[in-house]
Homo-oligomer: 225 residues x 2
């Protein structure tokens, strides 16, 4: 009985409960991925070594191997996570319903927001090129799914009369291309924050860069006065 | 005198004149770059070896080294050539003059046309990531020059009243992003040829995807009948 009294209470065990251990491992793995993604985006995938990533996290390279298998494995996870976030965001928008044009704009906002984040930026700046063929194929399938959602929403928008008649496939490429590019040029230290960039890009894509004829006439009339 | 008669005429020398030799070397070097670009775009930069390139050209790897220093060197040349073609095309458009909106659309056409070609596609699909820092910097400078041309033309278009007021920097990113994306998805065996893709992309970017209010009202009126 005396020995039971000196044993530590359950909460004080030097071993954490299994659930907490799994959670902590997940958090650490996530920190590895996040740090790696940031370095890939800043320095380039090839210029970043596992040693660089370990150094940033103040751990040894063998410690990294406890969480990830290789640099390829890290890139795959970063890109997969970003594409998963996009798909999940789009699913939520579609479940919430509303007009196709509003859903499309909400999805464009999600897309542009994600490409300014570390994982999403990896999709655009690094892409799947460094990965083996099977992995490239998997990531292309995820991308094709997101592209399909954009095409469907554009088709619905044309049907409801809110979007101008066009080839939904071409329009989806134009929208996704312009929004993807944000991930190439976005600089967190630049003058615009991600929400402003999303607003301005979406406005330009919806209305086009050309002056609308009615306004153009007004401008001409004003100038001729 | 007899010996002179049996000597071959000037044109039949087994050694080509220096000019022709340089020309032939240039043509061969270009074939190496073109073949490499095509393989990089099809298989990915990392999945393509110098052996693959040599095999496609029916030469040995040592022969390749007579024309190029390394795989990095090839990529650098491909990207540099494409960016040079773009800048040259834009220079010609600007020299020819005309309204800013017409010049902008002509430059957009050049840009979209080049990203469907082997070298231009390399700029988009591979980019400068695999290259050493100094090379990356050089290529970024060339890209910034092209971006600057687009910004200038957009600013001029706003001033002449043909483009809607906007931030030229943002608009240049939107246009270049959408057009760059063509290099990612373009497939020579697909249904659309590069000119059709350029036309449709430019039309969408100029007018936007949204139905114009006047047309929307007409559509609504037609539907309510």
């Amino acid at each position: 009985m005396a020995t039971r009294k000196t044993s530590p209470p359950a909460g004080a065990s030097p071993w954490k409960p299994a659930g907490a251990r799994a959670q902590q491992r997940e958090a650490k793995r996530n920190a590895v991925l996040q740090t790696a993604a940031r370095l890939f985006n800043e320095r380039g995938f090839h210029a970043t070594s596992l040693d660089d990533i370990a150094e940033q996290l103040h751990v040894s390279k063998p410690t990294l191997y406890y969480y990830v298998k290789s640099k390829d494995d890290i890139l795959l996870e970063c890109v997969r996570t970003a594409l998963g976030m996009m798909q999940q965001g789009i699913d939520e928008v579609r479940r919430a319903g509303g007009s196709a044009i509003d859903q499309l704009m909400a999805c464009m906002r999600i897309y542009s927001r994600i490409v300014t984040m570390d994982f999403g930026m990896c999709v655009i700046r690094i892409g799947e090129d460094p990965l083996p063929a099977a992995r490239r194929k998997e990531l292309r399938r995820l991308k094709a799914g997101i592209d399909g959602e954009f095409r469907r929403l554009i088709g619905d928008g044309i049907a409801e009369g809110s979007l101008a008649p066009c080839d939904p496939k071409m329009a989806a490429f134009v929208l996704a291309g312009a929004l993807s590019w944000i991930g190439r040029w976005y600089n967190p230290d630049g003058g615009l924050d991600p929400d402003q960039i999303a607003d301005q890009s979406i406005a330009l894509l919806m209305a086009g860069v050309q002056q609308r004829p009615a306004t153009a006439k007004k401008v001409a009339a004003r100038k001729s006065k």
